[in-house]
Amino acid sequence: MSAGGAEAKEAPKYTKKDFESDQDVRWCPGCGDYAILSAVQKAMPDLGIPKEDIVFVSGIGCSSRFPYYMNTYGFHTIHGRAPAIATGLRLARPDLKVFVVTGDGDGLSIGGNHMLHVLRRNVNVTILLFNNRIYGLTKGQYSPTSELGKVTKSTPVGSADRPVNPLAFALGCGATFVGRTVDRNIPHMEEMLKRAARHRGAAFVEILQNCNVYNDLAWNVMYDKEQKLQYELRLEHGKPLLFGPQDDRRAVIMDGVRPKVVTAKDVPASALWVHDESNVNAAKLLADLFAPDFPVPIGVLAAVAGPVYEEIMLDQEQKAISERGPGDIAKLLTSGDTWRIS
């Protein structure tokens, strides 16, 4: 009674093309969403799931047009509610593989509450949050991930609210899988998507995505060749947190209970912080690291096992049926206090 049910069925040998729908893609030319779509379509064949068993659910926003372009089942719903739609869908159909595609506004502003609860419940869905730090579809207002002081149409002299950190939020909600990837790194995206899709429970992946029209190069730290070389920290389970150019390798270590950047060769191997995906506390520290004071971690921050909401619910149902038999309305109607009038 898990997504494993879907995976158990023999899937045909697919190619990327099998996952392309016949719809014209309507994102702006140059949008980061094209690369994400391509990476998802490329990753799909490797999951080995029959495409009729796959559903993409989305809310509202540029990212939420995604389901129309996937040749699977798809449901483009209302603003912010995709996690709740997906929860009901999984409860009705635990045999399906369900993806939620959302954005920073959809998933963390109007739908923040649903995101909290889908993660807390650990519903078996794969959540892809495209974070471009801006409202694109409504033409350029600041978003809940925009930096403080962001000047946009709705904040002509700068925004007054601090941004939310999607990874820290997800971990705080009790997410059992949290990862980050970048729209301009297709191989890494594919790898993250596959890891997330295979996770049992709610998997949350933040995809740093470029809106070239309203917030171009918001993630330049991950795009600019020199900056990327300086700041990208590839998280790998069992490997130390090392980053930077080969001739100037740096490390993130723990200084007491604070992360600290040091020159790698200056510290003994025993002092290095070795990444452990099963350590959620460490992941919470990693979630807060960002340039320029720290490197930008990408990869899987945390992957742990946890009880899955719909599995528990359906186990209860199965138990009730196996112990007392299926429901019988005729019996129920005449149960308890009744009296006959003749």
Binding site: V57, Y68, G88, L89, A320, P326, G327, I329, I341
Partner: protein, 621 residues
Amino acid sequence: MSEIAAPAKGKSLKELDRAVVRFAGDSGDGMQLTGEQFTTESAWAGNDIATLPNFPAEIRAPAGTLFGVSSFQLQFGSQRVYTPGDRLDCLVAMNPAALKVHLRDLKPGGLLVVNTAAFDKRNLDKAGYAANPLEESTLAERYRLHKVDMTGLTYEAVKDLPLGTKEKDRTKNFFALGLVSWIYTRPLEPTLEWITKKFVKNPSIAEANTRVLKAGHAYGETAEIFAEHYTVEAAEMAPGLYRAMTGNRALAWGILAAAERSKVPVVYGAYPITPASDILHELALHKRFRVRTIQAEDEIAAITAAIGAAFGGAIGVTGSSGPGIALKGEAIGLAVTAELPLVIFDIQRGGPSTGLPTKTEQADLMQAMYGRNSESPVVVLAPATPGDCFYVAYEAVRIATKYMVPVMVLSDGFLANGSEPWLIPDPQTLPPIEIGFRTEKEGFFPYLRDPATLARPWVRPGTPGLEHRIGGIEKQDVTGNISYDPDNHDHMVRTRAEKVRRVAQEIPPTTINGPATGDLLVVGWGGTYGAITAAVERAQTEGRAVASIHLRYLNPLPPDLGHILREYRKVLVPEINSGQLVRVLRAEYLVDAVGFNRVRGLPLASEEILEAITQLVEGHV
């Protein structure tokens, strides 16, 4: 009323056609339980019954206060009982606040039973009595006043039991129950059985309640003050097996019946809200019917989870009250345009905003019909009685899945908590719910239409070759592709409306209670059925050419309604709102219908409806 042979001990036994009794006390006095047990006893006696629980929104309102008063009213009779009754034949007041709040409803000469022990200075102050009304002559002159030290007699009955004062005190409601059971010759057996079952693990409490119940009964039999008591013969009701049924339980069981019949699992999404929560509680008990309940994070998640389930090929159901329905509006629109089946229960309560959470109202009709952005019609149904909720819930699932539309069911606080003796149906006699998921690849499009219903095909994800995408954006008819074409949008708006209109072909001919033509037609909907029917039948016995109809289908309206409306000189529409159905009827049929409207958080009284009928027929209005 005829005097019959007096029973033992020189007490006379009078036979009544019907009686209206109200138990009133503090929220913590157990008045709801007392009323429910008295209802069960009356059901055993074979009477027809209607009940009206009435309690404050606060869980434990401060003791002794006017707003903390909780009451339970019922009418039982040897003939058909349509309402819980307007005026009381008997009022049991457990404290001064209960007396103050409820005395105005007692008939002159009515039976007034009070617990004297509660009439101390503190409680009198809290109720706003300057002097003890029991010591003044007015009460005894106006009513048949019986002053009983229920608290003292209760303590006396249980003095040797190993219980604390608080536990002993809590049994005094059963003294009142025992006493009133004697007054109306009710059998104690069902309550004694209930006590045994309920307190199986606590024999002292069971013993205390049993003793106190019997003490109350014996008090009536022996005390000098009760010169007479009453009997109400069994009603002539249709033969068959009966049970007591509340509206909320009936809605839940209607869904269970639909799940069993359709062989499709149900997902019920809900967020706790008065007075709808009991539907969630009830459904959560019945996992064996493959009903999956989600206590969602909010009202929007509750409905969207149900919509997600419907997309997955389950029966999606959500339930709430007016404020929650307001939050669900956008999602209902999604179900309208995605053309997915969905059942929405609205258990109406007093509003606006938080309003009167535990009181009844009928003011969500306009919200149900029009309370969404743009043109987003849904089917609207309304049950007439608590038991009718069963059939309406079942019908809602049947229509939703047959037409691929959302169906809103308008119940209310009165139906939800009220109960009636309900003739248990044979589930086999319910109409079939035939759900045929499309699996045929050839010629498939997501918005292909059934020529009779205009329903689009329902496809379960997982069906090979039928992968498709739907959503909230306007789509081209048939193909389902996104479309911004003006003419297509106009066509789709009309198609969604026509789909709802075609549900009219499901509506049976309207039952007319009274002459097919005449001076006045009373048109009602929802929980006012009993009050309207009782009023109209009384008007008929007074010789007036008055008839009534009660609408179960509010959108679309019955196809024969326009014709029926024209057969009467005048049309009266009683509603617990400021005039909602009356507007619809005037707009739809150009009929000069008149409203009768009271919005007091209480059911309409049949007396006031009768008065409105009389005035309208006699031309005063």
